[in-house]
Amino acid sequence: MATRKNFSIVAGPLSRSNPITTQVLGICSALAVTVKVDTALVMSGALIFVLVGSNTIVSALRNLIPSRVRIIVMLTVIATLVIVIDQLLKAFLYDISKQLSIFVGLIITNCIVLGRAEAFALKNSMRESALDGLGNAMGYGLILLLVAAARELFGSGSLLGLQIVPDFLYAGQGGWYVNNGLMLLAPGAFIILGLLIWLQRTVTGYREE
């Protein structure tokens, strides 16, 4: 039900305990798929599917999994879901799935997924685990979209493929503006991510021990 506790399970990972900016997990894909907003959007969708699915299934099985082999079981569940979403993307969003290339497959190794299964789903009810998966995946997606929007806007002058910076501003067409090439490189994502973390920690006052 929409209780206060359930709400905080979903909303917490959006800011206070965000998997990327606070726990600094899932950085690899955050750097790799954020050159354009559309790839980041699809990647976030894929992660929501996998994380909600894996948290629910692991939580359903939590009393059956022997704790010695729990990592293998959890990885099997996650890998299955990742393969399903990878095949779905190949079937229905072929172009974007080509751009995402290996990074959908690499969701298997995304620390957020295994981390939530281990830290939350093994100890909590199915409903709460599903909500926790949703919250964390959305927290991941939110940061991905922010980074991707900044990189696409400054790096390519567009958002979701739509030209934002007007043509006449560009050097070579009478203007002076030049797209920022650094934003297309991985260090650009590092810098944007760093600035986001800076902003968030200034606002929330969170400190690393």
Partner: protein, 374 residues
């Protein structure tokens, strides 16, 4: 006047601004109250001012050279005038844009505006091509001040040289305006390749021959009448600055000497490998490396930045050698980045604290051994 800016005064938030003007014109009235006491009138402001003075020969020559590259036949006065009106806006924009960022952080964080910025704001335009759009200078210096310095806590805590961070940002963000043959001269129809670009332009031909057949003699490159960044072409003028810095002990000579040694050693190593390789940049002599590109400028003015360099004497040697050798390696082996000194110094900055750490550890171990023998 002062009470307004003091604690509780009506302009207390603008105190950094007052402090800046006050100490620039008057020697501060405060004396050091805690140990150690150093009996000297020098403070950050005087030492940074010395660096500005040391930069003057290179800057003045750069102004002349900028005009000279635009129109070699126009005569000295005309060249100086052209150069002056091309270089002055770069410096002004750099100071204003960077100064605003600096002021913003000084007010928010309530610290004083730091004199180091006077050097950073002048160093950046001197490493840029004279033709660069002004808004890129503004973007670059803001990035350098904020990301290169303020995020890690401001002056004294910066890992990298802020001016180099700014230059690296412009270099990677807007490569079209920072490299190639058409950016180094003000005149649009003139394309002028820098000697380093010439040397790596044709594969399979001796690099030194390419440079001299393009009309660049060693002597000309030493004097500095060649296309290049505003302040970095003249090894001669930079040497004059180096003499000032070393004589006043503002910069440490060990870093410069180490860089020179590292560069010579790496260049000789490259020369011995040259016959076995297709890469003709390998055959460039140490003398070429010294006078071409920004090696001299970087080593004298940027590698010696006291904050981002190593702090121990032995560490300074290692740090210098590392930078010199890396510079040659990047120039010779990675021809996507013709100018290696910027990346070499940034890498050197990265390793500087680690070098210090090991020098200290080694010293401690040595002393412990000596103690145990007693």
């Amino acid at each position: 006047m002062e009470p307004h800016f003091g604690e509780g005064g009506k302009w207390s938030r603008l105190a950094p601004l007052y402090e800046m003007v006050d100490t620039l014109f008057y020697v501060p009235g405060t004396v050091t109250s805690t140990a150690p006491h150093i009996r000297d009138t020098i403070d950050m402001k005087r030492s940074m001012f010395t660096v500005i003075v040391a930069l003057m020969p290179a800057l003045l020559f750069g102004i002349y050279n900028t005009g000279y590259q635009a129109d070699p036949g126009a005569g000295i006065m005309q060249n100086v005038r052209t150069g002056f009106f091309a270089v002055l806006p770069l410096i002004l924009v750099s100071y204003i844009a960077g100064g605003l960022c600096e002021l913003l952080f000084a007010i928010i964080r309530r610290h004083d505006i730091n004199e180091g910025f006077l050097v950073t704001g002048l160093l950046l335009p001197m490493t840029l091509p004279p033709d660069i759009p002004l808004w890129m200078v503004a973007a670059g210096i803001s990035f350098g001040v904020v990301i290169g310095k303020e995020v890690t806590g401001g002056t004294g805590y910066n890992v990298f040289n802020p001016a180099l961070v700014a230059r690296a940002f412009i270099f990677f963000a807007y490569p079209g305006e920072m490299s190639g043959d058409s950016v180094w001269s003000l005149a649009d129809e003139l394309t002028a390749a820098t000697p380093l670009a010439v040397a790596s332009s044709v594969q399979g031909t001796n690099a030194a021959t390419l440079v001299s057949s393009a009309g660049y003699s060693i002597k000309e490159m030493f004097v500095g009448l060649i296309p290049g960044s505003v302040g970095g072409t003249s090894t001669m003028a930079i040497l004059a600055g180096a003499v000032i810095l070393i004589a006043t002990r503002i910069a440490n000579w060990r870093i410069m000497a180490g860089s020179l040694a590292g560069m010579v050693a790496a260049a000789f190593l490259a020369n011995t490998l040259a016959p076995a390789s297709q890469n003709t940049m390998l055959s460039l002599s140490p003398l070429h490396h010294l006078v071409m590109g920004g090696f001299a400028f970087g080593v004298v003015f940027m590698a010696t930045d006291p904050v981002s360099a190593s702090q121990t004497d032995k560490g300074r040697w290692i740090y210098g050698i590392l930078i010199g050798a890396l510079c040659v390696m990047i120039r010779v082996l990675n021809q996507a980045f013709v100018e290696g000194i910027m990346l070499a110094i940034l890498l050197g900055n990265t390793f500087a604290p680690m070098i210090d750490y090991f020098v200290l550890r080694q010293n401690i171990a040595k002393r412990q051994k000596a103690y145990a023998r007693q």
